[in-house]
């Protein structure tokens, strides 16, 4: 498909702007002006609409295809959430920061406050900041809060400890807060090896970052012991909320020893993923960390009025321009009040049911490196198929030909040829059964005709792309 710049005709316009109703200003000095107008596309509105409509048709998406991308919780995004967010489009964030401006923002500030309260209840925390703009941003904020806690106590800390199954963002976020990383291997039972953990633990560890259930989809039975050991060294427990969809109403991270958590609203709370974002990563903390929360902090006074605390001496400061990805928060808030207590519990239950169903049905066909009752996702290995020369990526590409977005492949890194499937609760049994059939077909094809898998996909507008060429040539901007 042509790029929009290749469809450009000089002088063509896609929109008519209002005519000026004021005098023309005297021109700016020459040295402040740009030499040439920016080379943006020049297309009619019709051409523009057709271009982007046709581009959209080159995507798989939750609304068009089953999208069991492990660790990403690609659940259905209720349409009413979009309507809800649109109600808040006209509100300028700066209004709340003007003198007495909070008087004019009671709805928006109150909603953020209430959302924080609800997330605190779901996660077992004492207070939540909605400022972080994505999961990784929440991780960075959370680790900075931990750093501030240690600094205030005069603790000398150097390390953050993560299991080798962790998301790459965990060590990357800890590094942005100035920590070195200690990685602890996974035991044959599928969780961080408790003996190796004890050996690695020392007084210079600032925090232990865990995902629970972890990226193998397993709930760590030693979690309380781990947090007790961490706390005995005055290390804090960080909960990566990427997998919260498994446990709503079942376990509260704050009850089992975690001190800080981030929540991915775009995963667990049904807000759309937007082709890569926006997400939102509110961070919840236990009481002892409240003094360090980012500013401005939304507070409620005795009369139930909402305001902003802008100067808190202990605060780590501001982590984003305003109050976070507000529109995403509106959607998550609407999602929570709409599903309610029973709906959230049911979501977690059926997410777990669906993952176990897929695991049992596919177990005869694919290796399960850690075979036990899983939570909301299950991880297979294509090691059996590899004997025929078929890799996890080949199975992924075959699925594309059959109309399924592939699961996450090659993650977690500790599983060879990993295939990580997260069906979510919003998929029907019929969808799961059809997917299972196709996965079985792929396994059979790997035996009978492996070449067919290596050639997939054949039904897309393009085949497998030359990634080496992309990295070598670095054409990241159209030169036409």
């Amino acid at each position: 498909m042509q790029l929009i710049y290749e469809k450009s005709i000089p002088g063509r316009k896609g929109v008519k702007l209002p005519a000026s109703d004021v005098p023309t200003a005297a021109p700016l000095p020459e040295n402040l002006l740009r030499g040439e107008k920016a080379g943006l596309a020049e297309v009619s509105e019709m051409d523009l609409v057709r271009h982007f409509t046709n581009l959209s048709r080159r995507n798989f998406s939750v609304d068009t295809n089953f999208y069991p991308l492990g660790s990403c919780t690609m659940k259905y995004n209720a349409k009413v959430l979009e309507n809800a967010a649109a109600l808040f489009a006209p509100f300028h964030p700066m209004t709340a920061l003007l003198p007495q401006g909070n008087d004019f923002c009671q709805g928006t500030l109150g909603m953020l406050y209430d959302l924080g309260q609800m997330l605190a209840d779901i996660t077992g925390m004492d207070e939540v900041t909605t400022q972080p703009l994505a999961g990784a941003h929440g991780e960075m904020t959370g680790i900075m809060l931990i750093a501030a806690y240690h600094k205030a106590k005069g603790n000398r800390k150097r390390y953050v400890l993560v299991p080798d199954s962790s998301h790459g963002t965990n060590p990357a976020s800890a590094a942005m807060a100035g920590y070195e990383i200690i990685t602890v291997p996974t035991a044959p039972y599928g969780d961080m090896d408790i003996e190796l953990f004890k050996k690695a633990m020392n007084d210079e560890v600032a925090a232990v970052m865990m995902t629970c259930p972890n990226t193998l989809g397993l709930f760590n039975p030693h979690i309380k012991e781990i947090s007790d050991i961490a706390h005995s060294h005055d290390a804090l427990m960080y909960y990566d909320g990427a997998n919260l969809n498994a446990i709503m109403g079942k376990v509260k991270p704050g009850d089992i020893g975690f001190d800080v958590i981030h929540v991915n609203l775009h995963k667990t709370f049904g807000t759309p993923h937007g082709g890569g974002g926006p997400g939102a990563g509110p961070v919840g903390v236990k009481k002892g960390l409240i003094p360090f929360l980012p500013c401005p902090r939304i507070v409620m006074d005795d009369d139930g009025r909402f305001g902003l605390e802008t100067a808190n001496p202990g605060s780590i400061g501001r982590t984003a321009s305003f109050f976070g990805n507000f529109g995403v928060m509106v959607k998550a808030y609407a999602y929570i009040i709409m599903l309610g207590r029973e709906g959230l519990i049911r979501a977690s239950e059926q997410a777990v049911l669906n993952a176990n169903y897929i695991k049992e049905k596919l177990k005869p066909w694919y290796d399960v490196p850690y075979d036990m009752t899983c939570m909301h996702e299950c991880v297979f290995s294509a090691s059996r198929q590899l004997k025929q020369g078929v890799h996890a990526i080949d199975i992924a590409k075959y699925l594309i030909d059959r109309g399924y977005h592939p699961p996450t492949v090659y993650f977690p890194l500790i599983v060879k040829e990993a295939i990580m499937i997260e069906p979510t609760e919003t998929e029907s049994k019929a969808t799961l059964d059809a997917f299972i059939e196709v996965m079985i077909e792929a396994a059979k094809t790997a035996e009978s005709n492996p070449q067919a898998l290596l050639e997939a996909p054949l039904t897309m507008p393009i085949g497998r792309l030359d990634e080496t060429k992309a990295a070598r040539e670095q054409n990241v901007c159209c030169l036409v």
Partner: protein, 448 residues
């Protein structure tokens, strides 16, 4: 209760699935969680229908003041948004997809982001762009970290005229990293070049400036770029993208990295987000860029396609050695930015920028005519300018808010000795009549 519109299984199906798994109840699937760790309370209220949900959200929105007449900016701006932006970005094929890890079934997102990167490069006059960051403030912090990596130095100099929120985020990001942040206090609303020259040595990784700056002043940083480069440092320019329809681009000034907030490009105010941050740089720095980058390539048959490229910089591969921890970005809002820029196009962006300046100049002249009111004169301005009032600006602004007019952003909370100063923003959306209303309201407020 069989509330099955989002969780579709019927009781019969659940039974069938449980039997396939070999357990007797859903509860049994949660048996790996030790009983003593289970939640004791769960206080979320009972659920409701989507109709009741929407009614509740309407009543929350109604608790905010209705339509405020906005003459405030501070990083977010009230601009026109062509209808196509909502409609096209509202296609579920875009907004219910995720990061395009599988290029064959994600060419829609990938090509759109490649076109977005192109638009950002052309707007900023630089060579390479990524596929978006979170917002303008975090983009500024990421640019600083990029400069630290490129130069191997550990000091960042930031002009005090840069948006205070960006400066605060910058300090938060760098606080734990053994990096010194030197802030240059503004001189008459401009970068204090003499003071900058005094701190610009071989320990400085980057100098960060903003154009137009927080007080609205427009500067030419071409000679500054030369001085910064002579010291072996990088120049980071934070820019307001609408102004680039008219103003000299960071690339033309010789800046190494350009950043900014994309809210003004087709994204609603939405109480501060989502928007997107953009970052563009000279090609030589591409391997130090944070975040996703889309690259062009071909398939076996030579057909053009787009992929996530140079992923060896990123957290999912490099883990703690990655150029940034960013994973999710603001892709959908970057797409909105692209649709906006493609809709207004080459001529339209220039026209829009001129409209902004014309309206602001009209407002400036009228407001300066109010007895006791003066205008900061140290440099030309784009669509924002600083006024000095005969009274504390906070008091005046608070009073006018009650009349439904957000007259400006008082500077007193952000700069010393600025209690009577405020920044007024006038976008193309403000009509002459509305500007005249502001003049009348302000005049009345100052008479009292």
């Amino acid at each position: 209760m069989n509330d099955s519109h989002y969780c579709p299984h019927t009781p019969a199906e659940i039974k069938e699935m449980l039997s396939a798994i070999g357990v007797s109840s859903v509860e049994e699937l949660f048996s790996p969680i030790p009983a003593e760790l289970r939640a004791k309370t769960f206080n979320i209220p009972p659920g409701m229908s989507e109709f009741e949900t929407l009614a509740r959200m309407r009543s929350i929105a109604a608790e905010n003041s209705g339509a405020m007449l906005n003459f405030i900016g501070g990083g977010f701006y009230d601009h026109v948004i062509p209808a196509v932006v909502d409609h096209l970005s509202g296609r579920a094929e875009f907004y219910t997809a995720y990061t395009p890890y599988q290029p064959e079934c994600s060419q829609g997102t990938l090509q759109a982001l490649f076109e977005y990167q192109t638009a950002i490069c052309r707007l900023t006059g630089l060579d390479v762009s990524n596929a978006s960051l979170y917002d303008g403030a975090t983009a500024c912090a990421e640019a600083a970290m990029m400069a630290l990596r490129v130069t191997g130095r550990n000091r960042i100099v930031v002009d005090g005229c840069v948006n205070p929120f960006s400066r605060q985020v910058l300090k938060t990001y760098l606080f734990n990293l053994d990096v010194e942040v030197v802030e240059i206090a503004p001189l008459d609303g401009l970068l204090n070049r003499a003071e900058l020259a005094g701190v610009l040595d071989d320990g400085v990784a980057a100098v960060i400036v903003q154009n137009p700056n927080f007080m609205g002043c427009v500067e030419d940083f071409t000679s500054l770029a030369e001085e910064v480069h002579a010291a072996g440092a990088l120049l980071v320019a934070s820019v307001y993208p609408i102004s680039l329809g008219l103003l000299k681009s960071p690339g033309e000034m010789g800046a190494d990295i350009a950043v900014g907030d994309g809210q003004s490009l087709g994204n609603p105010l939405s109480f501060g987000g989502p928007s997107f941050g953009f970052i563009a740089a000279k090609k030589t720095y591409i391997r130090n860029m944070p975040g996703r980058i889309i690259g062009e390539t071909v398939d076996k048959e030579g057909r053009r396609g787009f992929v996530l490229t140079l992923q060896a910089r990123e957290q999912h591969i490099k883990r703690h050695k990655a150029t940034s921890n960013i994973c999710s970005n603001q892709g959908l809002y970057a797409l909105r930015g692209l649709i906006f820029l493609s809709s207004v196009g080459r001529e339209g962006l220039a026209e829009m920028a001129r409209l902004n300046r014309d309206k602001a100049e009209y407002a400036k002249e009228r407001l300066a005519g109010i007895p006791g009111v003066t205008v900061l004169q140290s440099a030309p301005t784009f669509n924002e300018f600083t006024l000095f009032l005969p009274k504390p600006a906070e008091e005046v602004v608070a009073g006018l808010l009650r009349n439904g007019v957000a007259a400006g952003v008082p500077l007193g909370g952000y700069y010393q000795d600025s209690a009577n100063a405020m920044v007024v923003t006038v976008t193309e959306k403000r009509t002459r009549k509305e500007i005249d209303q502001l003049v009348k309201e302000l005049e009345a407020a100052l008479c009292n």
